[in-house]
């Protein structure tokens, strides 16, 4: 009993061992003076900066603004990508009509549109929403399409023989079959979502985490810059953890996703 609890503790702590060692080494290096804290603040300085920003409310406002932008862009771009992926996966006509165009646009790096987007929308909310939506669209679209295409045709035939209606065939066979692939798209999309938003906020914004980091750079507040970077890491991890949980709930039938 004791041994197993200890083992569980060890297994739980193991993934955090490397970050902890890095943090300690970093703190030690700055404290001893190996690294100048004008270039790299010590972890304790970053925590202090975080505390300060949290106390004044600046951090929460910016975090809230960024999260809202990310989610709005994700819902719009992901929604369109999902719908078009479904349409093209289910209908040859729709695919022949749109897939070539989508593939052409896909090869344009969406961040290269920033100058154009600023000309169109200025630095308002629309610019960020547009860029995030565009970035999120492609992975969701491509993986939804691929997922539907790779559904086992034997299962679809089985569904037909057993008298499933078109709706039933879709909800009970095609969509669940495509789900693992759709989740892959979701995880890619979440990564691209943060990346796009941070770049867009860094270049053109008057609020948000990227803006906070850029402001801090102007005033040489290295600790706030590092704080912003760490918050990105945390947000990315959070999004990933949520997706994992969702995957485990939706794909429990698949041995590859079952928790060990």
């Amino acid at each position: 009993m004791r041994a197993s609890r200890l083992e569980r503790l060890r297994d739980g702590a193991l993934p955090w061992l490397v970050p902890a060692v890095i943090l300690l080494g970093w703190q030690a290096a700055v404290s001893v003076g190996l690294v100048s804290n004008r270039f790299m603040p010590a972890p304790l300085d970053v925590i202090r900066a975080g505390w300060e920003a949290g106390r004044t409310g600046e951090l929460w406002t910016n975090l809230g603004v960024s999260t809202l932008r990310a989610l709005a862009g994700f819902v719009v771009g992901g929604g369109i990508g999902f719908a078009l992926g479904l349409a093209n996966g289910l209908s040859r006509l729709s695919e022949r009509l749109t897939d070539t165009s989508v593939q052409m646009v896909r090869n344009v790096p969406h961040l290269s549109l920033i100058p154009l987007v600023i000309l169109w929308f200025g630095i308002g909310e629309e610019a960020k929403l547009f860029l995030v939506a565009l970035g999120v669209f492609f992975p969701i679209y491509a993986n939804t399409l691929h997922g539907i295409r790779s559904v086992d045709p034997g299962l679809v035939e089985m569904g037909r023989v057993y008298g499933m209606s078109r709706t039933e065939l879709f909800t009970r066979v095609v969509l669940p079959g495509a789900l693992p692939s759709i989740f892959v798209g979701l995880r890619y999309a979440l990564g691209i979502m943060w990346l796009t938003l941070i770049v867009a906020e860094t270049i053109s914004a008057s609020s948000g985490l990227g803006y906070m980091a850029m402001q801090a750079r102007e005033f040489m507040l290295v600790d706030v810059v590092v704080l912003a970077i760490l918050i990105y890491a945390g947000l990315g991890k959070l999004a990933d953890a949520l997706t994992r949980r969702l995957e485990r709930a939706c794909l429990g039938w698949n041995p590859a996703y079952r928790s060990a």
Binding site: G163, P176, W253, N254
Partner: protein, 293 residues
């Protein structure tokens, strides 16, 4: 015990006769059959669908697979179709099930006399692979066979009954991925049977199983067929399996029926029965002695 019934093509006599009045030569009605009282033929055929195939043709991209095939399957019979791979036996089964459209000729399915069109028993197929939905629990997979008829709880009850019939009651709440190959195929059998079909087509359903599991499955299929009385059509390349299970064996060659044999060995059949072995030998000789079509 064996009576050959090699019928001359193109027209087997049974097709000419009205299927409803055709006398059934059912070996199970033999009063000397060992084992319990035999169900009467009328009772056995009560849910079976009779199949009449007339001058059936099917070609894929100009290659004829079935060429002018005639066949009558009486309600409640167990017919096996054997042949080399590529002879058209699977295509024949898919045509009868309506999974392919014939290039020419016609197929008539006739349900039990008096049953209204809507209440006609369905036709079901068991594939070589189980084709279970991996994301549905075992009991929900079986309920797929009811194609949405009845309330949710009624479907579940019937699915559980069908699972009990194949001896898998304890697996009802599991994912298909946790079952063995033989268990999955039994779930597929329960799914095929839960709607009480009038015709069950078996497309080499045991081909992927190991020898012992296959024998268990054969016994299970035979037992359920005898209690439920559906028309069974088994496509197989395993002649021993065909001989063990069927009343009648059709050997298909180049899209035609080359040999039509009755198996009049009483049930339950013992494996290694000399009559069965002799029949199996005859069919194998026929299959191996002819050039591949």
């Amino acid at each position: 015990m064996l009576r050959d019934a090699v019928r001359p093509e193109p027209l087997p006599e049974a097709v000419a006769a009205d299927p409803r009045t055709e006398p059934r030569s059912d070996p199970r009605s033999d009063p000397h059959r060992p084992g319990g009282p035999a169900p009467s033929p009328a009772e056995l055929g009560r849910r079976g669908i009779a199949v009449t195939v007339r001058d059936l043709r099917k070609s894929f991209d100009g290659n004829a697979v079935i060429e002018g095939l005639n066949l009558f399957l009486p309600a409640g019979g167990f017919t096996a179709v054997v042949g080399r791979s590529g002879c058209g036996k699977s295509t024949l089964l898919r045509l009868i099930l309506g999974l392919e459209t014939p290039t020419g000729g016609r197929i008539d399915l006739e349900g039990p006399a008096g049953s209204a069109r809507r209440s006609e028993p369905p036709k079901r197929i068991m594939f070589q692979e189980p084709r279970l939905l991996p994301w549905a629990r075992v009991v929900d997979n079986v309920a797929v066979g009811l194609s949405g008829h009845g309330s949710r709880s009624a479907r579940r009850t019937r699915a559980l009954e069908a699972l009990a019939e194949v001896g898998l009651s304890d697996k009802a709440g599991q994912w298909p991925a946790t079952l063995s190959g033989g268990q999955r195929q039994r779930v597929a059998l329960a799914r095929a049977l839960v709607s009480r079909p009038g015709l069950l087509a078996l497309d080499e359903p045991l081909g992927a199983l190991d020898a012992l599991t296959r024998i268990d499955m054969q016994d299970l299929i035979e037992r359920i067929w005898r209690t439920q009385g559906f028309t069974a059509l088994l496509v197989t390349h395993d002649v021993a399996e065909a001989v063990a299970l069927a009343d009648r064996i059709l050997v298909v060659e180049a899209g035609r029926i080359a040999l039509d044999l009755q198996v009049e060995v009483p049930r339950p059949r013992r494996r290694g029965d000399p009559d069965l072995a002799r029949l199996e030998g005859r069919i194998l000789d026929h299959l191996l002695g002819t050039p591949q079509g």
